[in-house]
């Protein structure tokens, strides 16, 4: 339920936004062209999104639905131009009715049929066929992911563990031993078929400490990256729109 005060706050903000834009357009700081209108639209959507920080409101809802709808439309276009058109329409359908350099690629029929089976979910009688497509995707996904997992995750991470513990320098050696202790203790934490008591419990607690230190570092690093995103948006508002900073 929107309160009266919320409605008045929203109205005043909209009026202020309108007045600022009229002034910017009238003074020529924003051109009355595609670029200027584009900036105003981008600012409106940015502010609508930020309005969620206050509370859920109709302006945010408009921006939300616009964002979801535009993304869906964009995805459809991408699927048509990047997948369906080159891989099905131009490779299979066009050569069937037109003389082209390369004949129809019949190998495309099987994946196209599997894709078509997905739409059969709308039919109560034939929806079982869609399970073929799912089975193919899940099976293929697991088949590709599991062997790659061994190489990319397991062996790639094991490789640096086989470095000599003594590196020639004191701190280098401490570092290598820390990495070894960290990896082993974290692995102990992820034992599920043993109770974490006694020695195993002690080692897994060390593992949790290592994890938390790593998460803390990762948290700080990512927050800094997010700050730079915020700064970028502020620069857009203050520089491109209001022209306050250069």
């Amino acid at each position: 339920m929107i309160k009266k005060t919320d409605i008045s706050i929203m109205t005043w903000i909209l009026i202020a936004f309108g007045i600022i834009n009229i002034i910017l357009l009238a003074t020529g700081k924003l051109g009355f062209n595609a670029k200027g209108i584009g900036i105003i639209t981008a600012v409106a959507i940015t502010l609508a999104m930020y309005s969620f920080l206050y509370k859920d409101n109709p302006v945010f809802k408009i921006a939300e639905n616009l964002f979801v709808g535009v993304a869906m439309g964009y995805s459809l276009i991408i699927i048509w131009f990047n997948i369906l058109k080159p891989d099905v329409f131009e490779a299979l359908i066009v050569p069937m009715f037109k003389d082209t350099e390369i004949g129809p690629q019949y190998s495309v029929i099987v994946p196209t049929l599997l894709g078509f089976f997905m739409f059969l979910r709308f039919s109560t009688k034939l929806s079982w066929l869609s399970r073929w497509s799912f089975a193919f995707i899940v099976g293929m996904g697991s088949g590709i992911a599991i062997p790659n997992f061994i190489n990319a995750i397991l062996l790639r991470q094991l490789e640096p563990m086989f470095a000599p513990l003594y590196t020639g320098s004191f701190w280098g050696t401490v570092n290598t031993i820390l990495v070894l202790v960290g990896v082993v203790s974290v692995l102990f934490y992820f034992f599920f078929s043993m109770e974490h008591k006694g020695a195993i419990g002690g080692v897994s607690v060390v593992g949790v400490w290592f994890l938390m230190i790593a998460f803390g570092a990762s948290f700080g690093y990512t927050v800094m990256a997010r700050m730079s995103l915020l700064i970028g948006r502020m620069q857009f508002l203050l520089k491109d729109w209001l022209g306050i900073i250069q």
């Binding site: 999104m49 969620f52 509370k55 859920d56 809802k61 921006a63 939300e64 964002f67 979801v68 535009v70 993304a71 869906m72 995805s75 997905m118 979910r121 869609s130 497509s133 799912f134 995707i137 899940v138 293929m140 996904g141 697991s142 590709i144 992911a145 599991i146 062997p147 997992f149 061994i150 190489n151 990319a152 397991l154 062996l155 790639r156 094991l158 490789e159 563990m161 086989f162 470095a163 000599p164 513990l165 070894l180 990896v183 082993v184 692995l187 102990f188 992820f190 034992f191 599920f192 078929s193 043993m194 109770e195 974490h196 994890l211 998460f215 803390g216 990762s218 948290f219 990512t222 997010r226």
Partner: protein
């Protein structure tokens, strides 16, 4: 079984040692060209001895032709003379791979592996160009088996056998022990709270498609949550970003309602596609969380930058939140904003923990044994490496 295991271990040792010495040939020969081993047949490897006076200012240029007598006009490779040394040759040989399918026109490339390519090596400096070494030739051939990944194959076989044995054992001995995982125990509490409050529970899938292991694990957890929800008669909303995950989720939730004997309570529209892109997905879910105020939020799967926005919004609405992800970079955000977080492998263990099915319990036990073996290998390998023996690292070298 032990004999089989020992045989496999020995086969790793023998084959990994033999595979490292492939195709190179020995001796201090001149400029050589040979088919790149373990590739799809679209490249040729060139090898030649290094010479004194190699520096940044001197370059090696390799010209290619499809006939022995040339003309050698197509430049196949240009490197600084002090670059691209063969690994393990102590800088006495250069080794470079040339992609043959990018060398000539399309017709030549389409003939694929039947073409013999000829290469001429020229050393270029500011002062002069000197042709060095005889012309070398090779024909690229595709390989069905990548021998550098033989260890992957053997490890996969060993782990698979071990998993099958553990599953067999779990079927014989019911009720294998699993340590307490607080986050999973809290699922029942969260769903109970949602039931008491008369509000829905929200299950948020991660941003990976159905080919991701974390999404498959998420589907398993969803099945269990849907079963409990059907028993409690609480609405469950499941948001998806991929149509395939959506369809699989619908099937899984429907089956769970059937299993609970409540097919009438299943609402297909409650398992929905929220959006098709990352941030629209976040915005749509933030809106749902704020408006419908679910009593319990589950974030399960692989997440990216959206994790904090989602979980922060959920926390602001006062929902009890449980996250489960193997996305290392996003775990800190879930830990700070959710009530319980399942980290990494706990996500994979969740389905075994919740269902207590022998199949899953057995595979979980196998994973633990594998982890134990890996701990032993790591410690043993590190000690051996410190003593100057890199025998373990050669066995586990990634391909």
């Amino acid at each position: 079984m032990i004999k089989l295991f020992i045989t496999f271990v020995f086969s790793i040792l023998i084959l990994s040692c033999t595979s490292t010495a492939f195709a190179m040939g020995g001796g201090k020969s001149e400029f050589q060209a040979f088919d790149t081993p373990n590739d799809s047949g679209k490249s040729i490897t060139l090898r030649w001895p290094s010479s004194p006076g190699e520096s940044d200012h001197v370059e090696y240029v390799v010209y290619a032709s499809t006939t022995k007598n040339g003309p050698f006009e197509t430049e196949a490779l240009r490197i600084k003379s002090n670059d691209m040394y063969e690994e393990g040759s102590d800088s006495s040989y250069h080794l470079a791979v040339v992609e043959t399918d990018k060398l000539f026109n399309k017709e030549a490339s389409d003939n694929g592996s039947s073409i013999e390519y000829f290469f001429k090596l020229v050393k270029v400096s500011n002062l002069d160009s000197t042709s060095i070494g005889v012309i070398a030739s090779a024909t690229p051939k595709g390989n069905w088996f990548n021998s550098s990944r033989l260890n992957n194959f053997i490890i996969l076989i060993i782990f698979s056998i071990l998993t099958l044995c553990c599953i067999k054992h779990a079927k014989k001995v019911p009720g294998l022990f699993i340590r307490k995982i607080k986050g999973l125990d809290a699922i029942d509490d969260a769903l109970g709270r949602a039931t008491e409050m008369g509000k829905p529970a929200l299950f948020v899938h991660g941003l990976n498609d159905m080919d991701s292991i974390s999404t498959i694990a998420a589907i398993n957890i969803l099945g269990r949550i849907a079963l409990r929800v059907a028993e409690y008669d609480t609405p469950l909303k499941v948001s998806n970003i991929y149509p395939i995950v959506l369809s699989v989720s619908q099937e899984v939730v429907k089956e769970s309602y059937l299993e609970a004997g409540r097919p009438d309570a299943y609402v297909e529209d409650n398992v929905f596609l929220a959006a098709s892109e990352q941030f629209p997905y976040v915005v749509a879910l933030s809106g749902i969380m704020t408006r419908e105020k679910p009593a319990a939020n589950f974030f399960v799967g692989y997440f990216y930058a959206e994790s904090l926005i989602l979980s922060e919004t959920g926390a602001a609405t006062g929902a009890i939140q449980i996250a489960a992800t193997d996305a290392f970079t996003q775990l800190p955000f879930f830990i700070t904003t959710c009530d319980y977080t399942l980290m990494g492998e706990e996500l994979y263990a969740a389905s075994a923990y919740l269902s207590r099915e022998p199949l899953l319990l057995g595979s979980l036990r196998a994973q633990d044994i594998i982890k134990g073996v890996l701990i032993g290998v790591i410690i043993f390998g590190a000690i051996l490496a410190t003593c100057g023996v890199d025998f373990i690292s050669s066995i586990f070298r990634p391909g």
